[in-house]
């Protein structure tokens, strides 16, 4: 999952970005309104953390423009302003959640993850497909109650695929949603991770959980979803 943080206060942004990365999210950072607005409208983010008071273009305007251009990425607002009115205005303008400064970093992470889950139509933090169980809070994966040790990237790929159960997910989409701009990547890095993931999840005499559609991408096997 990839998150955009739009926050001009350099030290605060640094902390938020580091914390989001610690929980396995890819994060991009914009330090002003213009850059934030531009990145948000690219549509590759699963959630946006948006500060209100920004140089260049305010958080309110970014939010309004985003909703006007039919982007539905969940937005969590950070505000240091008092007064309920602005909160009501923000929620009406299309914000999905808000946090007042100074906030709890743990709460921020939980809210961002909940926003992403809700946007994908999932309400619990434990995701199940076939006999695989993925706990998004503890970031653990079990198959037939046996723990499976995945690398952070492998975990993120599996989580992303489970969030898009019937869709064909292209390599490009995986790259866009799992890596931030700072990441030096090659397209075959995804293939390597998928191969490792398949191997770790594999149980003899069963069909692999993830199927490959040539030149198109990856998809969770239909039979596994039917159960």
């Amino acid at each position: 999952m990839r998150v955009l943080v739009v926050e001009d206060e350099h030290r605060l942004a640094e902390n938020i970005v580091a914390a989001l990365r610690e929980v396995g999210l890819a994060v991009d950072h914009a330090a002003d309104g213009e850059a934030g607005s531009y990145l948000a409208e690219q549509g590759m983010y699963d959630a946006i953390v948006l500060d209100l008071m920004l140089p260049g273009k305010s958080g309110q305007r970014i939010l309004r423009d985003l909703r006007r251009t039919k982007h539905h990425t969940p937005v969590l607002i950070l505000t240091a302003q008092e007064g309920k009115e602005s909160v009501v205005e923000l929620l009406n303008a299309g914000a999905d959640d808000y946090l007042s400064k100074p906030f709890d970093l743990g709460e921020l992470l939980a809210r961002v993850k909940a926003l992403i889950r809700r946007a994908k139509g999932v309400s619990t933090s434990v995701l199940k497909v076939s006999d695989v169980e993925l706990n998004t809070v503890q970031q653990t994966v079990h198959r037939r109650s046996q723990p499976i040790d995945l690398s952070p990237t492998e975990y993120r790929i599996l989580e992303y695929l489970i969030h898009r159960p019937r869709a064909i997910v292209s390599k490009q989409e995986l790259l866009e949603h799992l890596y931030d701009f700072d990441w030096e990547h090659h397209s075959n890095v995804i293939e390597a991770h998928i191969s490792n993931l398949r191997r770790k999840l594999n149980i003899p005499e069963t069909e692999p959980l993830i199927e490959t559609l040539r030149h198109r991408g990856y998809r969770l096997r239909e039979e596994s979803l039917a159960r």
């Binding site: 001009d8 030290r11 605060l12 914390a19 140089p55 400064k101 100074p102 709890d104």
Partner: protein, 480 residues
């Protein structure tokens, strides 16, 4: 609860009292006049009747030399009392008990009380000549007539007149009260409108426009204008306060959020000693900035407090401005070196200024650091002090980008930032120039900022000052 006073009631009562006084005076005058007129008419009637009786005496038949009185054909008044007699005491006729009144040759009127009733009498003298054609001119009879009539009628007429005027006055007073109440209420309507408009002002809605009618009323115009002006000033000051509180809250919350998130990030999982050490160093930096913000806000609050503690000139602390400028340069040198900016101090003049030494240092170093921060690499910041009579002028010039026109009116406002992100990154709290202004205002001085024609900005501080002739003079005065 204090008693309230109604202007309407006062006005009406005043007018009614005045009207009543006039009416009472008028009725008094009417009584006097009416009495006089009625009495005059009454006397004329008395005299007329008496003359009719005299005529009857003169026209009467006579028996020999005697005179007979025949009153048939004479119209007498109501309840008359009269006596007709000759001067030899011969009574020709009478009715009732007419008093003996002193008479002279002319007609006399006199009042008398007869069996409890007030009468007015007329005494008339006349002559009846019998056989005037005879030798010797006939016989002359001197006749005296005393004729009276009760005066009750006169008083009745006077009282009638008074009653009429009293009723008329009462009606007039009532009518006046009603018309006055209506007129005064109508006249005071602009005042009510003004009060209503003023009553709509709340701490969140300061908008006040005096109603047009209030502005067009001569008596209310000064009040309306004064209200508008006072509310305008209050609104500006209130807005400024509100903005300051909001901005201060924003700054503090952001600083606290940074400190809190730094520590929470560090405790998210077990880390290496190096990571902890790095994290703590960063947290300490974050905390230092929070401390600076709080410190600056407290300084500003202290400076903006009322100057009551300056009880007199003697209590004012003075300091040598040039010494303070030297200290400020020393303090600013590390930052200037870091930014590769030169600082030059022109110390040809000196002055004693009425500022506490620490505040003076805060003033000079804030201006200097501001100039260094806005200077490009390799630029020069100049500080110079000149004297103009009893005024010290401190000028600090830089070679930076200058101030945008739209920022000029706001640069001395607390937390004002032309570019919100840049100032925070450069470590400023947004309070430096506000603190400078507060220090200058407190010392009865001024501070202004302007752009130089060939780029850069100039800050000019003017302070009331006493010149110090030379270093020797200063040190000797200190020794003394």
């Amino acid at each position: 609860m204090s008693r309230t006073i109604s202007i309407t009631r006062r006005l009406i009562v005043t007018v009614l009292v005045l009207e009543l006084l006039s009416a009472v005076t008028l009725i008094g005058a009417i009584v006097v006049n009416e009495r006089h007129t009625q009495l005059h008419a009454f006397d004329a009637t008395l005299e007329g009747t008496a003359e009719s009786i005299m005529g009857a005496v003169q026209e009467a038949d006579d028996e020999g030399d005697n005179v007979l009185l025949d009153l048939r054909g004479v119209r007498l008044g109501r309840d008359p009392i009269f006596r007709v007699e000759e001067d030899n005491g011969h009574l020709l006729g009478s009715k009732g008990d007419a008093p003996r009144l002193e008479g002279s040759l002319s007609t006399v009127f006199q009042n008398a009380e007869i069996s409890g009733r007030r009468y007015r009498f007329v005494v008339l003298h006349g002559i009846r000549i019998i056989d005037p054609g005879e030798k010797g001119g006939g016989v002359r009879h001197n006749i005296t007539i005393v004729y009276g009539s009760p005066m009750g009628h006169v008083w009745h007429e006077v009282l009638e007149a008074v009653r009429f005027f009293t009723i008329a006055t009462a009606l007039l007073l009532g009518l006046t009260a009603i018309i006055m109440a209506w007129l005064v209420r109508k006249g005071l309507a602009p005042l009510h409108e003004l009060a209503f408009e003023a009553g709509r002002i709340t701490s969140s809605a300061w908008h006040f426009n005096a109603p047009t009618r209030a502005k067009e009323t001569v008596e209310l115009q000064p009040l309306a204008t004064a209200l508008e002006a006072a509310l305008g000033r209050l609104q500006r000051s209130f807005e400024q306060q509100r903005r300051f509180t909001n901005d201060a809250a924003h700054e503090l919350k952001t600083d606290v959020a940074i400190v809190k998130s730094s520590l929470q990030l560090l405790s998210m999982r077990r880390r290496t000693v190096e990571e902890y050490s790095h994290g703590l160093a960063l947290s300490l930096e974050d905390f230092t900035r929070l401390e600076t913000t709080v410190q600056s806000m407290l300084t500003l609050a202290r400076l903006e407090q009322s100057t009551q503690d300056f009880s007199g000139e003697a209590a004012r602390p003075y300091c040598s401005l040039l010494d303070v400028m030297e200290d400020a340069v020393e303090l600013g040198t590390p930052l200037a070196e870091l930014k590769a900016v030169g600082v030059r101090l022109d110390g040809s003049a000196n002055a004693r200024v009425p500022i506490d030494r620490r505040d003076a240092l805060l003033l000079c170093s804030n201006i200097l650091i501001n100039a260094v921060q806005h200077s490009p690499q390799g630029a020069m910041v100049r500080m110079e002090l000149t004297m103009h009579g009893h005024k010290a002028e401190l000028r600090v010039t830089d070679e930076g980008e200058g101030i945008a026109e739209e920022d000029k009116p706001h640069v001395f406002e607390a937390f004002y930032r032309g570019d919100p992100s840049r100032s925070r990154k450069s470590g400023g709290t947004g309070l430096g120039l506000s603190i400078c202004k507060a220090i200058c205002v407190r010392a009865d001085g001024s501070i202004e900022i302007a752009n130089l024609p060939n780029g850069g900005a100039i800050v000019t501080v003017r302070l009331p000052a006493l010149p110090i002739e030379s270093e020797g003079a200063l040190s000797s005065s200190l020794k003394a």
